[in-house]
């Protein structure tokens, strides 16, 4: 026991250094990735992919693309910031979907877990904006109409 724990912790440091260059890809490691931290903060300052959606009433044409994740209000808690951190988690989810769509056939995309989670996010926002049953919608990740455009769905 005496040396095992220090050796394990040393291994953790070595893996952190190694993963700062090449992240692990296996599903189990992705789920538990907070065990092996990545410290490459703000390496890329490009704004993340934008999540947009457009809606069409039953029998109607689609309207313009609109942002789903609105910028948060300037006021925020320094101690507790639940709403702000939730917005950041939504943005991470969109980035996960963008990453997992890479190299995936179009027909397979709607079966991806992050696709379905983002779909729920879009539907939640549409319902809270007063859209009713039967409203058709698509969402887009990236520039309006130029990034990945989802299948057509209905509330």
């Amino acid at each position: 026991m005496g040396l095992v724990v220090p050796l394990l912790l040393g291994l953790g440091v070595l893996l952190t250094l190694s993963l700062s260059r090449r992240p692990l890809r296996s599903k189990a490691w992705v789920l538990l990735r907070s065990l092996l931290p990545s410290w490459r903060f703000f390496e890329d300052v490009e704004p993340g992919p934008e999540l947009l959606c457009r809606v069409a009433l039953p029998g109607g044409e689609y309207g313009a693309w609109q942002g789903v994740l609105q910028a948060r209000a300037a006021s925020r808690g320094l101690v507790l910031n639940a709403a702000g951190n939730l917005q950041l988690a939504y943005q991470s989810l969109v980035e996960q979907l963008e990453s997992e769509l890479d190299g995936v056939e179009r027909g397979v995309a709607p079966t991806l877990v992050p696709y379905r989670l983002v779909q729920r996010l879009v539907e939640q926002r549409l319902r809270s904006s007063g859209n009713g049953v039967g409203t058709r919608y698509q969402f887009c990740i990236g520039d309006a109409g130029e990034g990945y455009v989802s299948e057509e769905h209905a509330l």
Partner: protein, 268 residues
Amino acid sequence: MSLSLVDALTWCARLSALSVALQTLELLQIRAAYADQGVWSWPILKEEHAALPLPLRALLGALLPYRAFLALLVVRLPLAGLLAMGFWWCAPLLLVSQLAIGARFRGTFNGGSDYMTVVVLSGLSAAAGGLNQPLLLKAGLAYVTVQLVLSYFIAGCVKVSRSEWRRGEALRRLLSSNRYGTPAWISVLVAKPPAARLAAGALLAFECGFPLALVGPRMALPFMACGALFHLGNAAAFGLNRFLFAWVAAYPALLYFSAQLAISSFIH
């Protein structure tokens, strides 16, 4: 100023308990987002667990359904209180719960702050496994210290290798983008290129120079003060409030090891 080994562990535990409690309260406030009808719906998430090793799948299947997850969060509050009071056995339980939270959000909920919280809880868990063994106590604190120093140093190195960061352009763009909803008064501070260059230079010098904090407590204290201000600034500019508490929880470990290594004492 220096801390004894036990004092350093005690303060890491207290500050980590505060960090864990605040994170937990936030997660409880947004519980609708991970309810079965919410965005991170467990019936959908569990589908991608099919390929996991059976023991891990069983553990996550027990901890992550909505009601079980809610119970896990509620239990974290008294556990954090007990850890702050010196009940070290709570550290490994909180570590497992922290990993479960990450898994519930497909890896992490809040990125870096989850990483550092796991680091500190890992160090405390190692220490909890050998309260009568100074080697284990030191190994736990050493792990926290090395990861803390790496967190700044690696972040600094990846930035300094990019010309847009050295020119201040990256900082200006980061603060003026919509990504984090940065308040306008902060964006204005670095709107002019010379101001952006100066601020970015100070940031890169702080992050890349952070290993110098190990030279001794006289170096560690100013670095820790700058670090706390840096995280306070990030909380104001980007809403990254969790980072402040997660990182400050690791500072007592740095203070302890800076005194132990005390390269400056050799010099003198």
